[in-house]
């Protein structure tokens, strides 16, 4: 097709410039053009949430956007979460500790939704967590362990913050 459009999208801190077909979904851009295959495509019509990414720091469905719409935006995917030394970050480690995943297909979407959620919810209730993950489907865990993982992650992050403020006070 000759109607390709030039886009510039920052993905996990790296600027990517490409010519894309307008019909290219953002998830396919991320997976096939940028080789970040951590973002998963489940239903491709906005129901399952597996493709959730952060667009300008807000969780959105990657399958309900064309790459051309994200021109000039910043995107974070699950690949951005790990610590600088390559180890799992607090939320990822909590998922691992609590068996909050079995097959793992839905996990990237959950992690991106929850990364944003934990930024404004330092001590979330179970109800708040359940509402936050209502847009992500998991067919293995029954959600109970995901909720435990979020609670552990919130607690760990809170402790880290307290230790950090103690250190900076000293």
């Amino acid at each position: 097709m000759s109607n390709k459009v030039q886009v510039e999208i920052t993905i996990n801190g790296k600027i990517v410039q490409k010519e894309v077909e307008p019909r290219l979904l953002l998830t396919d851009f991320i997976r096939d053009e940028c080789n970040h295959t951590g973002t998963h495509l489940g239903c491709e019509h906005g129901v399952c949430g597996a493709c959730t990414i952060l667009l300008d720091n807000e969780p959105v469905r990657g399958c309900l956007m064309f790459a051309v719409q994200a021109d000039g935006s910043e995107i974070q995917t699950v690949e951005s979460l790990k610590n600088a030394d390559g180890t799992l970050n607090v939320l990822q480690q909590s998922f691992s500790d609590n068996h909050a995943l079995q097959c793992g297909f839905c996990t990237p979407g959950f992690l991106m939704t929850l990364t944003h959620f934990l930024e404004d919810h330092q001590n979330p209730s179970e109800k708040e967590i359940r509402e936050a993950i209502s847009g992500n489907l998991c067919r293995c865990t029954g959600y109970a362990n995901i909720i435990k993982a979020v609670q552990q992650a919130a607690k760990t992050l809170q402790n880290e913050e307290m230790n950090h403020s103690v250190i900076s006070a000293q």
Binding site: M1, N3, V5, E21, P22, R23, L25, D28, E44, H45, G46, G49, T52, L55, E58, P59, V60, R61, C63, L64, M65, F66, V68, Q69, T113, E131, A132, S134, G135
Partner: protein, 296 residues
């Protein structure tokens, strides 16, 4: 599940968008948040030759008080409604209903104009707009505007009176009197799914506790969101007794004509609409008695 080929246009102002609409008309579709359009394109239920991406037209993104109306620009996102103090203050019914729209991830992208133009009878915003007797401002390519009420705009399932060269520009929610109280109730199979039935209700109480100024609309059970006029007339001057509520229930069942689908039978939806109408009225009256404006 990939969309068919299309050409992409990105106007930067309203007039440019309207010019594209005039040029490409029925071969084109407006793309704003895309949360309803893109699923249908992914499933190839829709294959427009041109997509006119209006999401960067900044002049259509606002929430402001305009006389007796809360005026919302077509490109205002659901999340902006959800987090607006002005909406909570002057249109608590809208503030309550907006949380029922999809999931947070959808509300981060979906727009008010898109929800109205899509014309889905199970959508929350059309139901609220119908209950409040709101207005839809439509822009024409020659720069003129038309103002339609929901009954004129929503024609049937997913069909509105919008012409191929017209665009929804603004949605206007009437600001109800300070004493009025409202409630929005819905039943969906799962949180965030389309509602099987939903009811938006506004009431005011006379000093003796009887009702005045009743406004009720039901969604998801007719081809368009519907004002329950008979229920409204019946309730004025009445106090809520078991008999009155039973009659409300009967009147509601007579006013709706739902269809059976995968998610529920017609009979179930009819009964649900009646139960939800009673529930919405009870909650609104309860809130009126408490005298507290309800904003969660």
């Amino acid at each position: 599940m990939k969309p068919a080929v299309f050409s992409y246009l990105r106007p930067t102002n309203l007039q440019q968008a309207l010019n594209y609409l005039e040029e490409y008309g029925e071969d084109s579709k407006i793309l704003s948040g895309g949360q309803s359009l893109i699923p249908t394109m992914n499933m190839r239920l829709s294959a427009p030759a041109y997509l006119i991406d209006i999401s960067r037209i900044k002049e259509l993104n606002y929430i402001r008080q305009d006389g007796d109306f809360l005026a919302v620009g077509a490109l205002t996102k659901h999340k902006d409604i959800e987090h607006s103090d002005l909406v909570k203050e002057v249109c608590p019914l809208l503030a309550e209903a907006i949380k029922w729209v999809g999931h947070a991830q959808i509300r981060n992208r979906g727009t008010v104009g898109g929800s109205i133009a899509h014309g889905d009878p199970s959508a929350e915003l059309p139901c609220v707009l119908t209950a409040l007797r709101g207005e839809i401002v439509i822009a024409n390519v020659d720069g003129s505007e038309e103002v339609l009420v929901p009954e004129e705009f929503f024609l049937t399932y997913m069909l509105t009176s919008l012409q191929p060269d017209q665009m929804v520009k603004e949605v206007r929610f009437p600001i109800i009197s300070k004493q009025c109280r409202s409630a929005f109730v819905e039943v969906a199979r799962r949180h965030g799914d389309f509602g099987l039935a939903m009811v938006a209700a506004v009431v005011d109480l006379n000093e003796d506790g009887s009702l005045s100024n009743v406004k009720i609309a039901v969604g998801g059970v007719n081809p368009t969101p519907t004002v329950l006029e008979e229920v409204e007339h019946y309730l004025v001057g009445k106090k809520l007794t078991d008999n009155v509520l039973e009659h409300v229930s009967t009147l509601t069942e007579e006013s709706v004509d739902p269809e059976t689908d995968l998610h529920g039978t017609a009979e179930y939806r009819r009964e649900l609409a009646a139960k939800l109408t009673v529930r919405a009225i009870k909650i609104a009256v309860e809130r009126a008695k408490e005298g507290e404006k309800h904003v969660q």
